[in-house]
Amino acid sequence: MLAHFILALRAAGIPASITEYLTLLRGMKQGVAEYSVDDFYHLSRATLVKDERHLDRFDRVFGEVFKGLEPPEGDPVRQIPEEWLRKLAEKLLTEEERKAIEALGGFDALMETLRQRLREQKGRHQGGSKWIGTAGTSPFGAYGYNPEGVRIGQEESRNRRAVKVWDKREFRDLDGDIEIGTRNMKLALRRLRRFARQGAATELDLPDTIRATANNAGSLDLKLVPERRNAVKVLLLLDIGGSMDDHVRLCSELFSAVRSEFKHLEHYYFHNCPYERLWKDNRRRRDTEVPTWQVLRTYGPDWKLILVGDASMSPYEIREPGGSVEHWNEEPGTVWMRRLTDHFRRSAWLNPVQEGMWDFTMSIRMMQTLMEERMFPLTVDGIEAMTRELSR
């Protein structure tokens, strides 16, 4: 039973090992859990999960393994093609629209309607206000109003059962990036570490000590220098949404690789081309937007700027005021790109598009010029070239 549990955890991407499994068994033998399911849950969580980002995943696996919670196969909710839900736009609804949705009735009523609609609907749909799809005002789908309400593609039936501890899924917000397959990237990014002498004087400077001691007629005069420490500061700007959806997996791998390497790492998101606003959390974009000026003021020129994006867009989005697909931008993307590259002494662009294809897209060539040829492909070799460029 327990071995099955461990295997399920590993299948879900939680790196639980044999050692931890044995620790769990020993803990049970010592009577830490004492025949209570809740205590067993707490004990196994403390033993097997070592990162708060995995807590939510753990809760889900625990629920499935120990309640035999197999998702029913005939449930139409499970059969919705994923592409329907792929995000195309985010939309904030007006007060009236929200009321209209509320007027459809409570949650259970919505679920009933959902089932009905699913039976009626035949194809993919976007926008509009009735069918299931993305960015519409229909209460079903993703990225519209109340994304928490009816999230298709997860086991919504949870909301109808008596809620157990692990079913509350209180750690959902902490689940984030993926760590698999980042080994190569890590190796390349390690090159970014620059050893700079900063901070308090803690290391003995032997040549200087000898000289000072000799000057001092042989009595000891210690000279210290600041210790070498990893002092690389990185500001990461990630393109998200739209044409980048194909590359999101690659980018999130890069992101999780970078995160563990630096003392200072900040990230912001942009769409296609950076303009006057960036944001920190894509799900709560409206709440977390900050002016690009503020970013420029906050992070000094010694930060290394890395932009990640496919730079594939209409040339107008770079060249013209008001060219953005999302809002009216007063100043064209070129101005913002120049401000960013002027402010940061070292900057580079990582592009997930294959290098051979760059010349076929006009906007990539434009960005390449704006970056003064510091655009690199998102591969291990590309990252190495980028880190060489950044640490010169």
Partner: protein, 282 residues
């Protein structure tokens, strides 16, 4: 060994109790993470108190080396003594300075060892302590002596997540993430710390506090320790609860906000929100 069940001044959730007891029973380190101000460091003090054991605290800074926790060889004073012809210089053991781990290992009774903010140190720091924490012994090269723990100490390690910890290190620990307490737990915590607080004041203060935490853009959300500081101030100033309840936009910033909001951006944000709500009322 006694079981940890929280104390009069420390409200521990059930999962935290299980995690601590597991760490005590299996004699493995417990790694505690969580938002700043949710009582990670205090946990070690309370565990020590609840189990009736002495506490040894080792606070980590960015310049701390793993070796310093074991022992340090004070070569500089030996060199000086050598120059001055001090006879002490012939025994190298005179210049071995014990670290916190050594103290914990050699203590005559079991102790609680707190390694505070392990993420502040260099990336290699946790790796350098693997064997020492696993076997609870280390070797002193200068005196050719092996130090073994007489009693395996209860090790509690806190981290603020500034750096990721190596897998090999994590594998040897129990892990607990201190969640931000919900309202009910928070009321118990306030009760535990201020038993004679006026109910009304506590209620209103908690209202303001959770409202403040609800603001998404805050750079640093106030946590439990900030709430407790603020309540203490409120009680010292003896403010009537009505002040907190007033919906008057001019006082939209809570009184004595300095205890809750810790940087000027957050204060500005709050002033701006207050300004906006004033405009709406007009």
């Amino acid at each position: 060994m006694k079981r940890f069940q929280g104390t009069a001044t420390y409200i521990a959730s059930r999962d935290l109790e299980v995690a601590v007891n597991a760490a005590v029973a299996l004699q493995r380190p417990l790694l505690v993470k969580g938002e700043p101000g949710t009582g990670k460091t205090v946990l070690a003090q309370e565990v020590a108190r609840a189990l009736g054991l002495p506490l040894i605290e080792w606070h980590i800074k960015s310049s701390t080396k793993a070796q310093q926790g074991l022992y340090e060889y004070d070569a500089v004073s030996r060199l000086r003594d050598g120059q001055l012809g001090d006879p002490r210089v012939h025994d190298i053991a005179n210049y071995i300075v014990r670290g916190k781990l050594w103290d914990a290992f050699e203590a005559p009774e079991p102790v609680v060892l707190l390694i505070d903010e392990i993420d502040k140190a260099d990336i290699e720091f946790p790796n350098d302590l693997l064997l020492e924490l696993d076997r609870m012994q280390f070797f002193v090269y200068e005196t050719r002596q092996t130090v073994t723990a007489k009693h395996r100490p209860v090790v509690i390690i806190t981290s603020n997540n500034e750096k990721e910890l190596p897998d090999a290190f994590l594998r040897r620990c129990f892990f607990h993430y201190i969640r931000f307490p919900d309202r009910e737990t928070m009321e118990r915590i306030v009760q535990a710390h201020f038993p004679d607080i006026r109910q009304e004041l506590a209620r209103e203060a908690l209202n303001v506090f959770f409202q403040l935490r609800g603001v998404q853009e805050l750079k640093k959300k106030p946590a439990t320790s900030e709430l407790l500081d603020w309540l203490k101030l409120l009680m010292i100033e003896d403010l009537p609860p009505e002040v907190l309840r007033s919906q008057d936009p001019r006082t939209a910033i809570p009184p004595l906000y300095g205890a809750l909001l810790k940087n000027e951006q957050d204060v500005h944000l709050f002033e701006r929100l207050a300004f906006l709500s004033r405009r709406q009322q007009r």
